[in-house]
Amino acid sequence: MTQPLLRRGLALGLALAFLTACSVNRYRTPVGAFRDRVQQSTAVLADYYASRNAHEIDLYLTEVAADPDLEVLLTGPDGKPTPIGKPTFSPAAIRARLDALDLIGVYATRLASLANSEAPANFHDAASLLGQNLGTLDKTFQSLQGQKDPTANQYIGPVANLIGAFGAMVLESKRDAALTKAIQQAAPEVNKILALVKNDLDTVFQPLAVTGANQRLATLTTAYRQDRRKLTYEQRKARLVEIKDAVRARSSDLTSAPSSVVASLGAAHDALLRLAQSKRRPADFSEFTSSMEIWTSRITYLSGQVRTLAN
């Protein structure tokens, strides 16, 4: 009689402890996972951005290799710089966009710190929290205006507001309430920044990636057509392997992959916001979990493709 009672008591105690732990930590896992994926997304997008100028140089050198009349030049006969004379995509503009994504990464990290702390200390002011680079990012975008960066001005407002939101993240005693408030306050600015990054990828980077990939294939096939009778079997095989790689690089899945990662980041953040606004019952977590799964698979895909293209 005593033993079953003890067992029931122990089981009840464990269940209560589990429920309490779930209640205390209910934000910890989703927010921690969100932070990790933001960091992975930023890293893989940084690799992608970095590969864009290298891709333009490769394309230029493919043209030179295919046409013996062409020289390797820093400035073309038309007086315009070639891709090796001046990067096609401004490094300053790329850096500013990566910093905007880093800002979202810092936001995710602060949320995770908050979710992992029982009695979080007050956050410092935005400048000391973010450092000079991110704390003045809105000024960086202002300076990019008029430097052949038509979308720079659109970043200024949301970036400045998100920086402001960090200053407002002064924590009070109730962690969950603070987290909900922080997510709700930052959500509109995070969404705007992600929409701008996605728009840049869709309207600037992706179109050039698509036409660049098609130009490379067309150049290689034309050179093969013109040279094939002079080539040995081994030389033809080597050229055809290059053509096969060029065919693969023009797949639409590949050129749209970076934009998909940013879209998934946005969808996961929306799901996090809905989770914050819910009663956070087990069913409320399922939507967030599925959006994280899609996002993870897209990060993995882009990471693999960027690595392959770099080799």
């Binding site: 043209e63 096609t88 008029g146 052949k148 960066d149 038509p150 309207t203 600037v204 179109p207 050039l208 698509v210 036409t211 660049g212 098609n214 130009q215 294939l217 067309a218 150049t219 096939t221 034309t222 057509r225």
Partner: protein, 104 residues
């Protein structure tokens, strides 16, 4: 105000596709490749260019891009009127050069 870069992208891709189309003569394919390369160089510059709202040169260029692009989607017409299509592509490139000269 912006140039219709979506239609321009289709135009450039069509040029490259026709450069690999065995139904065309080799000189015609070489011409399509050259036109595609020239338009892509302009695409790189146009994506960073800004124009005033309602700029007549932009409106004219967009109309040309659209017209050339519509023709390029009609593959049979391109095969039958290759010389005309190549001439129109050269005209489009010239028009975009003029546009880039006035870009901010």
């Amino acid at each position: 105000m912006n140039v219709d870069t979506a239609a321009l992208l289709e135009t450039i891709n069509s040029c490259f596709e026709f450069s690999m189309d065995g139904r065309l003569t080799e000189p015609a394919r070489d011409e399509f490749l050259a036109r595609g390369k020239r338009l892509r160089r302009q695409q790189v510059e146009l994506l960073a260019a800004e124009f005033e709202k309602g700029n007549a040169a932009v409106l004219d260029a967009n109309a040309r891009i659209l017209a050339v692009n519509v023709t390029l989607q009609e593959k049979q017409e391109v095969l039958e009127r290759t010389a005309d299509v190549l001439t129109n592509l050269a005209g489009l490139a010239k028009s975009l050069d003029g546009l880039l000269n006035i870009a901010a």
